[in-house]
């Protein structure tokens, strides 16, 4: 029973990170109909910036803020410079451009920061809380992870629901021509959307890195998990992405916790889940209408 609780808690914590990452993918998908496969590399880049600052003696929090800001900048620059020319064009071209970014940024990280494994610090302890006589798998760090993701999501909800900029962003995602006619600077909104998504992605990258080893390709699995979570939720729905992330986190945690040598199977399990979802419900678990042809 206690083991089950611990596996579940681990799954929920990791699921929160997958949710955040899936949310970043969904934000971009909704505004530009592009799946940003470079998200993982972009997040890895900002994580390495944070790591460099921490190694230079700065505090975790300074590093966090600088990393998120550099994510904002990186997202905006990438949208403006390389994504804009292929936006609205054939879908294959956009996919190939984001894949090019993916491999180019990853290689750039290795060139600048080296490809060795480096440990990434956490701001809080990694020892589980004491409940009665048992130590559970909920650590101060996982509380921080969950809180950080929840706060980010709340901020996004506030932005999209209650501000003019959020309204303009929703409008340009909903109907570009109409929004443009009504005076929304659609181009800027798309840039802002990518920038925000890059911030959320960077946060996910920093959170999953805490207490682990980072290397240039450490986000490869996370981009798959984020994609699977987003597809679980239907790619179009932020709520779906969050629920999808949690479901995936739990499922993968049970696989690695209950199957013998299951940790080697986590990536395969994600593949199986994705295949089943795409075959049975291509529109995601929460699709209200029929699957749209991307």
């Amino acid at each position: 029973m206690q083991y089950f609780v611990n596996v579940t808690l681990t799954g929920l914590t990791e699921g929160m990170v997958y949710s955040a990452f899936a949310l970043a993918l969904v934000l971009i998908w909704r505004s530009t109909r592009i799946v940003n496969f470079a998200q993982g590399s972009m997040a890895a880049a900002t994580t390495f910036i944070a790591l460099a600052l921490i190694q230079a003696g700065q505090s975790y929090w300074v590093a966090l803020i600088v990393a998120l800001l550099s994510g904002l900048l990186l997202g905006a620059i990438i949208e403006r410079v390389v994504i804009r020319p292929v936006e609205g064009g054939p879908e294959l071209n956009a996919v190939i451009v984001t894949l090019g970014l993916f491999v180019a940024i990853q290689a750039a990280i290795a060139i600048v920061f080296g490809s060795a494994f480096q440990s990434f610090p956490t701001p809080f302890g990694l020892e589980g809380f004491q409940v009665g006589d048992n130590r559970i798998a909920l650590t101060p760090n996982s509380v921080w992870v969950i809180a950080a993701v929840l706060v980010t999501m709340a901020l996004l909800v506030v932005l999209f629901r209650f501000t003019r900029i959020g309204l303009a962003m929703r409008a340009s995602a909903f109907g570009q021509e109409v929004a443009r006619l009504l005076g929304v600077r659609v181009g800027r909104m798309l840039t802002l959307g990518w920038a925000l998504a890059a911030v959320v992605g960077s946060l996910a990258g920093l959170l999953i890195a805490g207490g682990e080893f980072v290397y240039p390709a450490y986000m490869d699995s996370l981009i798959v998990f984020g994609f699977v979570a987003a597809v679980l939720g239907g790619l179009d729905s932020p709520i779906g992405a969050i629920v999808g992330g949690l479901i995936l986190g739990l499922a993968l945690s049970y696989v690695s916790g209950y199957v013998e040598r299951g940790s080697a199977l986590v990536n395969v399990a994600a593949l199986v889940i994705l295949m089943v979802v795409l075959l049975v419900r291509p529109g995601g678990l929460f699709a209200s209408s029929t699957a749209r042809r991307a």
Partner: protein, 391 residues
Amino acid sequence: MSDLQSPANTTAEGRTTGSKTAEEAPTEATAGADQPTASRRRSLLPQSTLLRHLLVLLLAAVGAVVLLEITDPFTNSQLATLTYYAIAAGGLTVLTGMNGQISLGHGALMAVGAYTTALFLSADEPLPLPLILLAAIVTATAVGALVGVAAARLHGPYLAGATLALAVGLPGLAIYFHDVLGGEQGMRVRAPRAPEAFESFISAVSGNSATNTKWLAYLGAICLLITYFLLANLIRSRIGRTWRAVRDQEVAAELAGINLGAWRVLAFVVSAAAAGLAGGVLALVVRLAAPSGFTLVLSLALLTAIVIGGLGSLLGALLGSALLVFLPPFVTDLGAGWGLDNTEAAQLAPFVYGVVLIVAMIFAPAGVVGTLRMRWLTRQAKRSAAQSSRG
């Protein structure tokens, strides 16, 4: 006349108006795949497709022998590497260029072929090599069919994501079944020795010593030539035309009674077979089948090869593969000259792949071969227009 101009026109339009043409225009990236029809009339090659391809095959075989005999052993081994990249890229270009499906999973399918080859060769009395390579093809085809069935229902980004999951997930199986497949260390491959006939052939042709490296390079070249011959015939056949119809005009193709799903699965299966063979050749040439050999970067490198060469063109796939082989040593040297250490300099190659993918998609979506072909066609069209207006 209008027939001549159409490919050039669609791209010019696609570049200027962007979003408008997204629905009607054939996928811009693959526009270069449509072969010119009018230019053949003046060509010296025979009319029959099969005869023409046989002639090219013969010339290419002679060219391969000459190339392998005048180059040094190191270049021989580089050319052996080129053959497996080119086989896989040829398969991928059929899938992506002809049928508009993207796959990031071809590295994983190559892994299937490589591990199959390694397993069969580790037997005490290994089967003859052609049978083993055939087994590699069959296994990869089976996996490809499975993926293809799922993939047939998916579009662009969904398909990319699903095959990405395949590329990241499948090597995990090698670690899970580490008793059989050797875990992280992988499986050593005992490459079979060259047959006697090969040694006498080499000594008759050039008098060079028939080393094992040379034998593997020849083996790869033979596989490459056979694969490209078969793929070229397939592309020019009814099957190839149907694939292009499915790619460019989904609705029209469906109305014409084409079962979209079945044809997509077929494209994936053919492409997976090529990847399986490429994996088999890779295992023989590298003499190792390990998860680290089949990373995502391999799949993305293959994608770079076909994009830079021009989607849908086998010649483009071959040129792109040559780039994959000869570019890394070049940029690594360059990086070392700039004061990077070895591991950093080694990363310059993937960096260049990525930049090339981005730049190619923004400025020349039809790739090298496609862009040149389009230039040529535009010039032809202009010239004949000028002539007709004068006359």
